[in-house]
């Protein structure tokens, strides 16, 4: 890790804000079930691209905001996102050389972990059992991964975030 001047906080921050907005845009019917876990996907990208800057603390802060936005128990998204970022930091050297298909598969698993953790916590909270439909966002997250990757990579290079 070379000592570099950290810059472009606002790029990372605004990517989180966009993810927040996308996460609460009202959707109806099937679209609501298919909504990707935008925040998790964005966090995975930053954890892979800038592992020295985006880590557990960022994940937890972002998760705290998400908990409040969703009206979930405080800590639900914090825990899930912390786990996701932890895993992607363990994997980042491998992930960087993966093909985009392999990356999408990994994102599927990571988003699946996120969904499972959220599910467990909601079950503890007493929200009741539900069908396996809750795993659909993991699938759509993987589908949207290439798009997020291209957009964020371009943004990162254009604004020279490092």
């Amino acid at each position: 890790m070379v000592e570099q001047q950290a810059r472009g906080y606002w790029v990372i921050l605004s990517s989180f804000l966009i993810a927040y907005v996308l996460a609460v845009v009202p959707l109806t019917g099937l679209a609501a079930w298919l909504r990707p876990e935008w925040l998790a996907v964005v966090l995975i990208y930053w954890a892979i691209a800038l592992p020295h800057r985006v880590g557990l603390a960022t994940a937890m802060l972002a998760g705290l905001g998400m908990d409040v936005l969703e009206g979930a128990v405080i800590g639900q998204n914090m825990l899930a996102l912390a786990l996701v970022v932890l895993l992607s930091r363990l994997l980042y050297q491998r992930l960087r050389v993966f093909s985009i298909g392999q990356q999408a598969l990994t994102v599927f698993f990571l988003a699946g972990v996120h969904q499972l953790v959220c599910q467990w916590i909601q079950a503890v909270e007493g929200a009741g059992a539900r069908s396996l439909w809750f795993m659909l966002p993991a699938l759509t997250s993987a589908v949207f991964w290439p798009l997020v990757l291209m957009t964020l990579r371009r943004a990162r290079r254009h604004f020279e975030v490092n």
Binding site: V24, G65, G71, A82, R130
Partner: protein, 262 residues
């Protein structure tokens, strides 16, 4: 640390102030998320044809006339009711004050039936406050921040509301199922007099919801001789997934007596 936070929020509700503060901070996110819908509404308002507006107007004035006609009787009936209740030595029915609120967000998780409203602590909204629309009870406030509040709908799987059958006063509890058009009434003896089409209204028990607001219509009653309880399903009266404007009911101390002195 996170587990500690989870337990703190889940068991002791210690984090309410912090949550309310963050909620206020994050209002812009909801506002931005609402922009597409706001554009849709603007179009609806400004790009409507003259003929459809006139049609609407005719329709509304007709409806207004009918409602006013009904209201004439209402006044005398209310006075009558208050007199009879006074004769029976029971307290007069309270009329509730309402506040109009706008829905500015819905819970992103389709299984959680929660709405975000644009009225909060600064409008004296309080936790536990009932919310209705034009057709019936919608839910109750569970979180209040400075300018917004979050409400739990009656169909959420964690929500129950005490009801009674309008026809004969049989008491029951209507529980949410997680499906927007279905409530279930549990633990009603198989011999109880409830039939399809019965209107369930709030019973006022539990001190949370004021008495007499329509909750649901019974759609199915299944009596299995082998079971101690009947299986009863009901459809909520309120338009839970369509309402844009809702009414917050102030049923606490500031309610006024209707037909005082009657």
């Amino acid at each position: 640390m996170v587990v500690g936070l989870l337990v703190a929020d889940l068991r002791y509700s210690r984090l309410e102030t912090a949550r309310a503060f963050l909620d206020t901070l994050l209002i812009p996110v909801h506002t931005v998320a609402d922009i597409p819908a706001a554009i849709g509404r603007w179009q609806e308002r400004h790009l409507q044809s003259r003929s459809s507006l006139m049609e609407d107007n005719d329709h509304l004035s007709l409806e207004n006339l009918v409602l006013k006609g009904r209201l004439q009787q209402m006044a005398s009936l209310q006075a009558n009711n208050a007199r009879l209740r006074a004769l029976l030595n029971s307290s007069a029915l309270l009329r509730d004050d309402v506040l109009v609120a706008e829905v500015i967000g819905v819970a992103p998780d389709p299984v959680r039936h929660q709405l975000l409203l644009d009225k909060g602590g600064s409008d004296e909204v309080y936790t536990g406050q009932p919310m209705i629309d034009a057709d019936g009870l919608m839910g109750q406030v569970i979180e209040v921040s400075a300018f917004t509040s979050r409400v739990l709908l009656i169909t959420d799987a964690t929500h129950s509301v005490p009801v009674q059958v309008n026809r004969n006063g049989v008491r029951a509890v209507a529980e949410g199922t997680g499906s927007l058009d279905l409530l279930e009434v549990h633990h009603v003896a198989a011999t109880t007099d409830i039939v399809e089409g019965d209107l369930l209204v709030t019973s006022g028990l539990g001190q949370r919801f004021p008495i007499g607001y329509p909750v649901a219509t019974v759609t199915r009653v299944e009596r299995d001789p082998g079971q101690a309880f009947a299986r009863i399903e009901a459809r909520p009266a309120a338009a839970l997934d369509r309402a844009r404007h809702v009414l917050m009911v102030f049923a606490r101390g500031d309610a006024v007596e209707a037909g005082a002195g009657g």
